[in-house]
């Protein structure tokens, strides 16, 4: 997934961490793409398994958690050299992905559960 070059952000400063804005932005883009893609996959899976209502939402949160863990692992667990705060990598595309996820759940449910 994240085959993009997530180069490190820190400048040569010892005490005050500064970030290269362009790299930071491209890392955020990678996170966004990963989340969108995973929310599509999660939506399709939830639709196929027939999860509706609260169960579907729980599946979405689970998928997002897995995505966050994978992103953290890809960044080598040292989040601070790639992003400026934990919140960004954990929570960033959550709501945007929710809409996509709901859409795909509906789509797959309605297409597959027909007479």
């Amino acid at each position: 997934m994240a085959s993009h070059d997530e180069s490190g952000k820190k400048s040569n400063e010892n005490e005050v961490p500064t970030f290269n804005a362009e790299n930071l932005q491209s890392n955020m883009k990678v996170v966004y793409y990963c989340r969108t893609f995973m929310s599509i996959i999660g939506g399709v899976i939830a639709g196929i398994c027939g999860f509706t209502g609260l169960m579907g939402f729980v599946v979405y949160v689970l998928v997002m958690a897995i995505t966050s863990v994978c992103l953290t692992a890809r960044a080598g667990f040292s989040i601070h050299s790639y992003f400026d705060s934990w919140n960004r990598v954990l929570l960033d595309g959550f709501l945007g992905g929710l809409l996509v996820n709901v859409y795909f759940v509906c789509a797959v449910l309605d297409v597959s559960f027909c007479a």
Binding site: Y32, I40, L99, Y103, C106, L109
Partner: protein, 247 residues
């Protein structure tokens, strides 16, 4: 009230899937059309100069702590000086760039084109959906909703006992509209014309760019507190070098 309706395969084949496919194709078409219709407008040199001044002031603000106090103050005065500081815009001139921008025919045409390319496909598709696909249950939303959404989601269906989760094709259209934005950002890359909210933010921010942001940058520079974070950095650099050389 809670009967389990099963959708006919005919609805699936002829309503749900074609509508989704059509929306995806229209999105792709709109992306390519907007790419083709993008006229290369000659940028106004004054606006570009002001843009660069703003960028320089912003860099100064961001990196203020890395330069000595005197240097920072000298630069700050250069920008915010009352008489001839770069960021200081006298009151009379402040309105001009904005008025100029809106009366400039190229700019107005451009904005109108962007607006049209957004609105027309949406309107056409919506009219098409309303005309052909109304009056029957099209899809089922997987989570339960309250009765208040009935008028919004079930407008073609005149039965009041049908569960609110069963919606008409109009709401399927809207669901497509919002859900496919994420998909478009994946398959079309960054520059896709389907994200309305981004476009509107860009358009509303564009008109006020020169005059107001100069004032904003000036205020920002005025309130920066300088905190010199590199005291004794020569000694520290010496220590680091010694350590490197000795190990």
């Amino acid at each position: 009230m809670a009967e389990e309706l099963v959708l006919d395969t005919a609805i699936r084949d002829w309503v749900l899937i074609p509508l989704s496919v059509v929306m995806v194709l229209i999105g792709i078409l709109r992306y390519f059309v907007s790419k083709l219709m993008r006229t290369s407008q000659l940028p106004d040199s004054k606006i570009i100069k002001e843009g660069f001044v703003i960028i320089r002031a912003r860099n100064l603000r961001a990196a203020a702590n890395f330069i000595p106090v005197k240097a920072f103050r000298a630069r700050k005065v250069y920008y915010t000086n009352e008489e001839n500081g770069l960021l200081h815009v006298p009151k009379g001139q402040a309105q001009n760039p904005q008025a100029q921008m809106f009366s400039d025919p190229n700019m107005a045409m451009d904005m109108m084109k962007k607006n049209l390319s957004m609105i027309i496909p949406q309107t056409l598709t919506f009219a098409w959906v309303n005309f052909f696909f109304s009056g029957f249950v099209a899809a089922k939303i997987p989570f339960p909703l309250t009765q208040r959404f009935r008028s919004m989601l079930q407008n073609g269906i005149d039965l009041s006992t049908v569960d609110v989760s069963y919606v008409s094709s109009r709401s399927w259209y809207f669901l497509n509209l919002f859900g496919l934005r994420g998909l478009f950002s994946l398959i079309l890359g960054e520059e896709n014309a389907t994200d309305d909210t981004q476009r509107m933010m860009q358009m509303s921010g564009f008109g006020f760019d020169p005059s107001k942001s100069l004032g904003a940058e000036k205020d920002g520079l005025d309130i920066v507190q300088h905190d010199w974070v590199l005291p004794k950095f020569e000694q520290r650099a010496e220590a680091v070098l010694r350590k490197r050389l000795s190990s």
